[in-house]
Amino acid sequence: MILAKTGNEAMAYAMKQINPDVVAAYPITPSTEIVQLFSNYVSDGEVDTEFVAVESEHSAMTACIGAAACGCRVMTATASQGLALMHEMVFIAAGLRLPIVMAVASRSLSSPLNIHGDHSDSLASRDSGWMQFFCETVQEGYDTLIQAVKIAEKANLPALVAIDGFILSHCQERIETLDDQAVRDFLGVRQPQYNLLDWRNPILVGPATLQDYYFEFKRGEIEGMNQTLPIIQAVQEEFGKRFGRTYPVLEEYRCEDAEAVLLLMGSACGTCRVAVDRMRAQGKKVGMVKLRVYRPLVWQLLKESLSKFKRIGVLDRADAVNSYGGPLFTEVTSVLYDLKEKPQVYSYVYGLGGKEFSPDDAIAVFEQVLSGKKDEFVTYVGVR
């Protein structure tokens, strides 16, 4: 069906079609509508989900963990301070290898208070052990949320699917939805390896491990993440074959013979496509590299792609205060460090707190990357 939906509506609609066993959530702007609309589906009897209205995001993730340990398919949604309040439990979900899927309408963190879009909340959860997907469009958010359920259950790891707050969460787009039955056939039923409520086969979840075993268990968790790329690619491929839409983990847009490229994640990729088209029309050789998956860090693909270019601008929609460039920049430069011929890589931080990032802004960044003349090591785009 072709529908007009905001990002939040599309995420809630995907959740309805996924029909998870348990959703525990506490609403927070800008993702509030995801939970609110989903609770309507629950009230109207359109899903079989046990909806747990908890008293905080910390409790939301805690309830999700408990339900997932009982073998349920579990989802939630949050943003910003809500994700920050979940922080403790987010790590536990990953350590217990529970395939919880969370939609995040990604936004800034206080203070000062701001409700608008950037990637500060999701990137602050980078080291929690969750897979992280950043979506360019509402359609991609809808499709990715469905894929993420399958990916998470195959990988035994939780997954965060981010749509940019307000820019995607509150803007309506034309999207093509799938049939309810098609989504359910694609996902099947979760096959858990154990069930905490199975009293005939008692288990211990969340044991204390000290100097003797903690590091060994963490090593196993890290390996779990190391093995996720082929799972993501296989699920994407299957989704593409069944439904005709596919999103590469890393996409090169008009990068053939490019003298300069910008690398970035999220909705601003759409902005950059417009900028690239305009500049190409003027004969300027520029392109865009879109990174869709931040964790696992697809360093092999990044190295393969970026080693082809001489000048690269890395755009971060979050800042890791006083680090040597933005969060994505520092990872990209690490990935490229052992190349014999290193490209010039420039760090840009843009769009914090929802600050406008227009095609003209992207063009200005392109021009600077092409010229190689940059005064500051990190450029804060559009900051007065």
Partner: protein, 94 residues
Amino acid sequence: MAKAKGWRELPCGAIITDMAAVKENKTGAWRSMRPVWDKEKCKQCLMCWVYCPDSSIVVKEGKVIGINYEYCKGCGNCASICPAKAITMEKERK
């Protein structure tokens, strides 16, 4: 103790399915307060057995016969729940 396992041999998510292994970890050493059970005051309601998080209330043929100090962490739940005040918490002495 058996030889320590390497990371490849460990269960995904640190899920312990072999509950016998839990017995090896004697948590009684954590205790700073010790529950002392008074057989005379005990009404055999078994509430302490229900509430003990470490299965340290020893029950035989439906009756409390004592406390297993090898595993009791001294949380005091049993003393708190006991309607007959038959369990009191006392300081551990060295």
